[in-house]
C-alpha cells in the first residue's frame, strides 16, 4: 500500500531499491535531527505545513549545500540532484512518515 504511493510520486528513473534506501535515509538519518516523524528536533520540522511557505528550490538547495551556521551538512557528495528532488517531493506530499 505504502510503496505504491511512493512510486506514484516518483518522477525520475530511480530504481525501487534506491528509493527504498532514500526513504530509510529520510526517516532514520535525516530523522536523527528532524525527528523520525519529521516534526522537528535540533533541526526544524519538515512537515508539509512547516514547508508550505518555503519555495521548493530553497529546500533543494539546503539539502544540496547545507546551511552554514547550523548543523545541516551538504549532501551533494552523497545524493544526486534527482535523488534530492525525489526526497523533496516526498516531503511536500506529506506521506514521508
Amino acid at each position: 500500500m505504502f510503496s505504491q504511493v511512493v512510486y506514484a510520486v516518483q518522477s525520475t528513473a530511480l530504481t525501487a531499491s534506491r528509493t527504498a534506501e532514500l526513504h530509510n535515509l529520510l526517516l532514520q538519518d535525516c530523522g536523527s535531527c528532524h525527528g523520525m516523524t519529521l516534526k522537528g528536533g535540533l533541526g526544524p520540522a519538515l512537515t508539509p505545513e512547516a514547508l508550505q511557505d518555503k519555495p521548493r528550490e530553497y529546500i533543494e538547495l539546503t539539502i544540496l549545500n547545507g546551511r552554514s551556521g547550523t548543523p545541516m551538512p551538504p549532501w551533494k557528495d552523497i545524493l544526486t540532484q534527482d535523488e534530492i528532488r525525489w526526497l523533496v517531493d516526498i516531503l511536500y506530499s506529506g506521506i514521508a512518515p
Binding site: 532514520q28 536523527s32 523520525m36 522537528g40 535540533l42 548543523p71 551538512p73 552523497i78
Partner: protein, 390 residues
C-alpha cells in the same frame, strides 16, 4: 475431611503461585530501544537473551533511558515529549506522561527522587517526582531579551542533588541545585556558540559542553563553580575547513582512562587523545570514519568507536596502551550505539538497518550472540543506575 481437602488445596495453590513468580534480580538486565516501532526489548546479559518487549512508548527517535536506584524501573525519554516509567520485572508500563512537545533527554537525581527532562519545544527543563511523575519544577530556559526559550541539551545529574545543562540557542550553562526546598539556579553566560551536547566526568567533577558554532569546549569545574566556565582544547572542532558533519559526535560516551580522555574529532576521521590533567592534546588516531561514540571498556584497556553515515557499518577497537587499532569489526549496517556489561566482558552493539543487536566478547573480539530487533538504537544496562551522569 472437607477441611483437610481445603487445606491441601490451599497449600498446592500457594506452592504453584510461588513457582509462577520466580524471584529474580535486575543487575543483569537492560533495554534495547526499537526506535521505529516505539517499543523496547528487555534483555538479560547472563544468557544474552530477550526476555520481553514493551510497546506503546511513542516516538523513540533519539530516545534515552535512566534507571531507578533499585534498578527495577527504566525511565524512557522520547522525542515526542513522553516520559515513561517501565517496570522491568513486570515488563509493562507503570506510568507515562507527555511532558512537552519535543524532548531530547533526561537525568535522575543523586538521591533517585527527581527526574529532569530537557526539551526542544518549548525549551527548558522540567523536573518530576520519580515515583508519581508529577511536576516538581519547571525551568524555562529564557535567554537574551528574556522572551524566547532555548532548546536545552546535555542535561546530566551531578553530586549534591544538582542538574547541569546547556542552552543551545542561548550559549549558556545552567547549574540547578535541588538540595534545598526551593531550587537554586546559577547561570553561566557567553560560554560559547551553540553548545550541542554535554557530559560529566565519571567522578562528577567536570561538566564539559561541546560547541557546534565555534572550536573548543566549555568546562565547568563543579568543585569550584565560583570560578566560572573556562574554554579548553581551543582547536577542538571543525577547524577552518568546516568539513560536513553527517552526525554530531556524542559526548556522553567519552572515554576516560586514568591519564587520557579519548574524544571523537568533529568532521574528521580521527579519535583525539587528550591529557586529562591539563586538557592538552597528545595524539590523534586515524580511524575509519567520523567517530560518533568513543567508549572505554570499564577497565580502560580498550576504546570502542562507531562512525557517522556513510561509514556506519563498522566498529573499531583501539588499544589504549599502544594507541593502535586492534581490530575492525562489521556488525551490520547503521551501527548506532554500544553498551558494555558492568565489568566489561561483553559489549552489545546495535545495527539499526541490519535489524539486530550483536554481542561481542571483548577479549577475543568474536561475536558470541545475535538478537533480532526492530531498528535498534540505544542500548542501556541497569548498571547505569549507579553511575553519575548516566
Amino acid at each position: 475431611m472437607k477441611i483437610y481437602a481445603a487445606i491441601l488445596f490451599a497449600f498446592l495453590f500457594f506452592q504453584q503461585l510461588a513457582v509462577a513468580q520466580e524471584l529474580r534480580g535486575t543487575g543483569d538486565l537492560g533495554v534495547v530501544i526499537e526506535r521505529a516501532t516505539g517499543s523496547m526489548q528487555i534483555i538479560e546479559t547472563t544468557g544474552q537473551s530477550t526476555l520481553h518487549r514493551v510497546e506503546g512508548l511513542g516516538d523513540l527517535s533519539h530516545a534515552s533511558v535512566v534507571f531507578s536506584r533499585d534498578e527495577r524501573f527504566a525511565y524512557v525519554f522520547g522525542r515526542d515529549g513522553g516520559l515513561t516509567r517501565v517496570d522491568l520485572l513486570k515488563a509493562k508500563i507503570d506510568n507515562r506522561v507527555i511532558q512537552s512537545g519535543n524532548s531530547i533527554g533526561g537525568a535522575i537525581s543523586q538521591d533517585g527522587r527527581l527526574i529532569a527532562v530537557s526539551n526542544y519545544t518549548p525549551g527548558g527543563v522540567k523536573v518530576f517526582d520519580a515515583q508519581s511523575l508529577e511536576l516538581v519544577a519547571d525551568i524555562p530556559a529564557l535567554y537574551g531579551d528574556g522572551k524566547q526559550q532555548s532548546k536545552v541539551v546535555g542535561l546530566v545529574d551531578a553530586p549534591g542533588q544538582k542538574f547541569v545543562f546547556s542552552l543551545y540557542d542561548g550559549g549558556e550553562i545552567w547549574l540547578a541545585d535541588f538540595s534545598q526546598k526551593k531550587p537554586d539556579i546559577r547561570r553561566y553566560q557567553d560560554i560559547g556558540v551553540q553548545p550541542y551536547d554535554g557530559l560529566i566526568t565519571p567522578d562528577g567533577r567536570y561538566y564539559i559542553a561541546g560547541l557546534f558554532g565555534e572550536d573548543g569546549l566549555a568546562l565547568l569545574d563543579l568543585w569550584h563553580p565560583e570560578n566560572g566556565v573556562k574554554k579548553i582544547l581551543s582547536n577542538y572542532g571543525r577547524g577552518s575547513e568546516k568539513m560536513p558533519v553527517y552526525k554530531m559526535p556524542h559526548l556522553e560516551g567519552w572515554a576516560m582512562t586514568d591519564d587520557y580522555a579519548f574524544l571523537p574529532a568533529v568532521g574528521r576521521n580521527e579519535v583525539l587523545v587528550v591529557n586529562r590533567r591539563n586538557w592538552q592534546q597528545l595524539a590523534s588516531i586515524p580511524v575509519h570514519g567520523q567517530p560518533v561514540f568513543v567508549m572505554a571498556r570499564p577497565d580502560g584497556r580498550q576504546v570502542w568507536v562507531n562512525f557517522a553515515f556513510p561509514n556506519n557499518d563498522t566498529v573499531q577497537v583501539i588499544d589504549t596502551e599502544t594507541l593502535q587499532i586492534r581490530k575492525s569489526l562489521k556488525p551490520g549496517k547503521a551501527v548506532l550505539h554500544m553498551e558494555f556489561t558492568p565489568r566489561g566482558e561483553q559489549v552489545w552493539v546495535s545495527a539499526r538497518d541490519a535489524g539486530k543487536v550483536v554481542v561481542y566478547d571483548t577479549e577475543t573480539l568474536n561475536a558470541i550472540a545475535e538478537l533480532p530487533a526492530e531498528k535498534p538504537s540505544g542500548i542501556f544496562f541497569t548498571s547505569r543506575a549507579h553511575r553519575t551522569g548516566l
